[in-house]
Symmetry: C2
Subunit: 144 residues, 2 copies
DNA sequence: ATATTTGCAAACGTTTTGCATAGTG
DNA sequence: CACTATGCAAAACGTTTGCAAATAT
């Protein structure tokens, strides 16, 4: 886990009155490694690879803790729920409506500027955002 | 239902091999009237007000039809699934992390420009997008 | 030592499936 | 008429709850 992240995550956890358990650390590590949208099944698979086999109740409570305390963000794509680290979520996604492939794209500066404008206009303190583009990838355009 | 929408929706339905049933029409009407994110419970409530009481199986299948065929878009906010008309979805949302209030904001042109750039860069034919900003609304900023 | 976290068992709610009937184009 | 849409019953699945034992700070 990168140093600057460790610190910020650790802070957020203790701020929320939580403890850095083996499971919690492992889940965060997985989300950092993936650095993109990960679904629950993938999280379980990766945990099992690390010889961690939490009860499903425990996993539900863990993901609830992480989302409730804003360490992790949930997103619904193609009828599936995905998770990603809030701290790493400053990129966006191109999602193909045919093959469901998800491609990560970097943040455009425009959006950061817009956040400032929106903040002022609406008296709204923006701390995060979600942006996804839906359409047809190159392959599927050709094949259809 | 506004004329230009009726036509486009009707087309999409028959293109998908579907029929314009009472339930389907009612759901689309509700989504048009709400013109924002609506959850399943609200849909049921509004249907009941119209004396339409579909079996829950039917409702599930209906919402599946509408999302599968891209007439309606699903979004996950605050642990809840919301639906909205794809044709009307060209606005974005400010979501307060404390009181969960959702405020609709109009599309900024910047994003449409970016879509074009992204399309070309990635050989990806973008047909829709989702954008949500998370943060603290004015009231909650004051009270916390 | 205290509070959080965990596993187990069971309850609960949501979503899906199969099939026969009704309704639409 | 052909095909989609619907309701019902039941199954499958996902999520939540309560409690006692284990674990982290």
């Amino acid at each position: 886990m990168p140093k600057h992240l460790t610190k910020s995550l650790h802070q957020k956890i203790s701020l929320a009155g939580g403890k850095l358990t083996r499971l919690r650390k492992a889940i965060l590590d997985i989300l950092i490694q993936e650095n993109c949208l990960v679904d629950k099944k993938t999280v379980v698979k990766k945990l099992n690879q690390k010889k961690i086999n939490p009860d499903r109740t425990t996993l539900y409570r863990e993901l609830l803790f992480l989302t409730k305390n804003n360490l992790v963000q949930k997103t619904l794509l193609n009828e599936k729920i995905y998770y990603e680290l809030t701290d790493l979520s400053h990129h966006h996604h191109l999602i193909c409506l045919i093959c469901n492939k998800i491609k990560k794209i970097p943040l455009e500066n425009h959006l950061q500027c817009q956040e400032k404008i929106l903040s002022q206009k609406n008296n709204f303190d923006i701390i995060n955002h979600n942006l996804e583009f839906y359409g047809y990838c190159y392959k599927c355009q050709k094949n259809n």
